[in-house]
């Protein structure tokens, strides 16, 4: 089969899985929906591998293949095709997406087992994978936007999966609205680019841009505007400042959802977008600078906030935000391979961390607050091991994968020189913060005195608390629209253990493919996609390399040591620090007041405007004057006419006689 056939199959399998589950759930057996969905994504992964092998069979200069399935429309100079672009970048992305998705589907089969919305969940999840694959395989801006919007919709559906929980539905709407802001950016960006290149096709646009469609100087106004609009889209999707506030709230969704969408795949769509349109960005360095600055700002802000959050999933969410800051910074300064490599390793260890967190939350019977967790080391050994592996990878401790990927980004940033040294330094500070907050979770949850749930679990008893909303504590039931009654723990569920083990392997070993000076698998693989980039060639200076690697390792270990001292060796230290700097702590705990600012400066005025429009304009003019007025006129008219229908027969008889007399009178007058 040809490469593009494999690619179309990659798209077809999740779509088929979704349709089968969505339409056939009634006739499927027990967990059938889950197995069918997992099987569909597994087949998609197999097809991705097939695409990879087939693509590598082509000569490197010919590894960007476009395949058109359907010519949708051609009007006013716009050619809208359903076409996909198969090249190393998209194959890389589909491998990561379908691979991690398969494992998360497997995990979900156990995790969501007792949930009454089991089939709906898997239908949505397959839809999401289909949309994400469509996004990365898209061959023109149109299909890219379609995939973009679809993943936003899937994210909404899955965040508010437990729809009877008001916090979940609110979070889903919040995420969706901010996504729409990104979608607007996407479409406007496409317009600005189309204006000069006159084609929606991705490769066509890049060739036109390279050939001078935007003039021969850099920083053409329209191009910068277009690229900044695309950056807005990327920031909204990847939860970068200032469009990031939706990501922590998105933790309302089930944990596998958080792990798939909000760690491994959807939030990386922004990184993919910038990498894909690198030709345009390289012609607009101002836009690249914007991306880099926002990336580094996000990674620092998110890292600091993660130090003060009590909810375990939200800490991991801020960690995601921070790591994606690294990736965005990477692809904005030209470290494409490094950024994408970090995307891959991050997918592994972040998904692993979320899965392990899910297991821990299950052991806590749905409770997510770190304040109530402690001493689970003996009760949950496997989960602990996964947390440690994921944590070490996240903190960039050698020889795990995170070390190689993150340090490579910082290395290339440093090599760019000039003001990028600031980014280099700030990146390493962020690295220190990462280690601290990651091991904060691990030490707080797994060390110290075992809490009640942990002691009972060591004895073999799983706690079943009363079903309640973990954020607000209000009581719930376990019927449709709420989580099911059973709590999944990795130690007791084989599918979860399999998935987590495979991810742990990836988190540990994925770094081996890109050890500096030894091998550069990712670099070489992606090179054909970036053949037209002026920044891709990496010249690593040995001195900088050694310094970088050493500093990275040292900072990681230092972070772990600090965390150990604060949370294990001297347990009251955190409280003391908090009391010493209440203003700083308040800033961090309130997430740098971004949420409040958004609330006050955007949401509240919009709400007031809406209320004004409703009360002042709509109610008065439309409801009362137009609608009410018309109906009042009709009602008055009919009331007038109704008075004649009194119901008295004699009255009617009298009217009859009156009528006859009147008519006869008329005719008499005529003669």
């Amino acid at each position: 089969m040809s490469t593009t056939t494999y690619a179309w199959l990659v798209l077809a399998f999740p779509l088929a899985g979704m349709l089968i589950v969505a339409f056939g759930y009634r006739v499927l057996w027990g967990r059938g929906a889950g197995w069918i969905a997992t099987g569909a994504i597994l087949l998609s992964f197999a097809a991705s591998v097939g695409a990879l092998i087939s693509l590598q069979g082509h000569d490197p200069a010919h590894r960007q293949i476009v395949s058109t399935l359907y010519h949708y429309a051609s009007t006013v100079g716009v050619n809208a095709d359903m076409s996909i672009l198969v090249d190393p970048l998209s194959v890389f992305m589909i491998l990561v997406v379908s691979g991690v998705s398969t494992l998360i589907h497997l995990y979900s089969v156990s995790y969501m087992e007792s949930d009454r919305g089991f089939a709906r969940y898997f239908a949505y999840l397959n839809f999401f994978v289909f949309a994400m694959l469509l996004l990365v395989l898209a061959g023109n801006f149109l299909l890219l936007t379609v995939g973009w919007a679809f993943v936003g919709a899937a994210s909404y559906l899955l965040i508010s999966f437990w729809y009877r929980r008001t916090t979940a539905t609110r979070a889903g709407i919040y995420a969706f609205v901010i996504n729409v802001v990104g979608d607007v950016g996407m479409v406007l960006g496409t317009y600005f680019i189309f204006k000069h290149t006159h084609t929606l096709d991705l490769l066509g646009s890049f060739h036109a841009a390279g050939a001078g469609a935007f003039g021969h100087a850099t920083n053409n106004g329209d191009l910068v505007a277009g690229c900044v609009m695309l950056l807005v889209a990327a920031f909204a999707k990847s939860a970068q400042l200032p469009l990031h506030t939706w990501l922590p709230d998105a933790m309302e969704g089930p944990t596998p959802v958080s792990s798939l969408i909000h760690a491994a795949t959807m939030v990386t769509a922004g990184v993919y977008l910038i990498a894909r349109t690198h030709v345009l960005f390289e012609l607009a360095p101002s836009a690249q600078d914007v991306g880099a600055i926002v990336g580094v700002a996000t990674l620092l802000v998110a890292g600091t906030i993660a130090l003060a959050q009590p909810d375990i999933k939200r800490v991991i969410a801020y960690s995601t935000m921070s790591q994606i800051g690294y990736m965005i910074m990477g692809v904005s300064v030209g470290a494409y391979a490094a950024g994408l490599f970090h995307l891959m390793t991050h997918a592994f260890f972040k998904a692993l961390l979320f899965m392990a967190a899910g297991s821990l939350i299950g052991a806590m019977a749905g409770e997510q607050s770190l304040d109530r967790m402690g001493g689970f080391r003996r009760a949950l050994p496997f989960t602990f091991a996964c947390f440690v592996i994921g944590g070490l990878a996240l903190s960039a401790i050698p020889p795990l994968s995170g070390f190689f990927s993150k340090d490579e980004i910082l290395l290339v940033t440093g090599e760019r020189g000039g003001w990028h040294w600031a980014l280099y330094v700030l990146g390493y500070i962020g690295s220190l913060l990462t280690a601290i907050y990651t091991f904060r979770i691990i030490f707080r949850a797994f060390f110290g005195k075992p809490v009640e749930e942990a002691s009972k679990l060591e004895a073999g008893v799983v706690t079943h608390g009363h079903p309640a909303n973990p954020a607000t504590g209000e009581a719930e039931d376990t019927d449709v629209g709420f989580p099911g009654p059973a709590h999944a723990i990795a130690e007791r569920a084989l599918p979860m253990r399999i998935a987590m083990s495979l991810l742990a392997l990836g988190a540990t070993g994925a770094g081996l493919v890109q050890i500096p000076k030894v091998d550069s698998v990712v670099d070489d693989f992606l090179r054909p996609s970036f053949a037209d980039s002026s920044l891709y060639a990496t010249h690593t200076k040995n001195g900088l390399l050694a310094v970088g690697l050493a500093v990275g390792a040292v900072l990681g270990l230092a972070g772990i040591a600090i965390a150990y001292r604060v949370w294990v060796a001297r347990p009251g230290t955190a409280t003391v620090v908090r009391e010493r700097v209440p203003a700083l702590y308040g800033l961090l705990a309130n997430k740098w007041y971004f949420d409040d600012a958004l609330e006050r400066f955007v949401v509240a005025p919009m709400g007031a405007l809406g209320r004004l429009a409703r009360g002042g304009i709509e109610r008065v003019f439309v409801d009362e004057a137009l609608v009410g007025g018309t109906s009042a006129i009709v009602r008055a008219g009919s009331a007038a006419v109704r008075a004649a229908q009194s119901g008295f027969v004699r009255y009617y008889a009298a009217l009859l006689v009156l009528g006859v007399a009147g008519v006869s009178f008329y005719f008499l007058l005529q003669t």
């Binding site: 109704r642 229908q645 009194s646 119901g647 027969v649 004699r650 008889a653 009298a654």
Partner: protein, 99 residues
Amino acid sequence: MTIAWYLAVSAIVFSLGAIGVMTRRNPLVVLLCLELMLNGGNLALVAFSRMWGDGDGQILAIVVLTVAACEVCIGLGLVVAIYRRRLPIDVDEMRELHG
């Protein structure tokens, strides 16, 4: 007497029937007054038939008579049904078909 006298009588009988329909409250009596109006019409028909000298008016008078009989049958059936349901026998009480 000339035909005109018969016509005058017919007009008077018709008007008396109309007064009765508008004035009486017992539905049976209202039906009776309705018969009066029909009879007035019959008289006029027969008178005109005599005037023209052919039997068309008489035929129509017979048909009117038949129809009156049918109408009486139905009307009385209605009154009996109302009586069976213990509602008052009074046209002013039967006023649910109002707007």
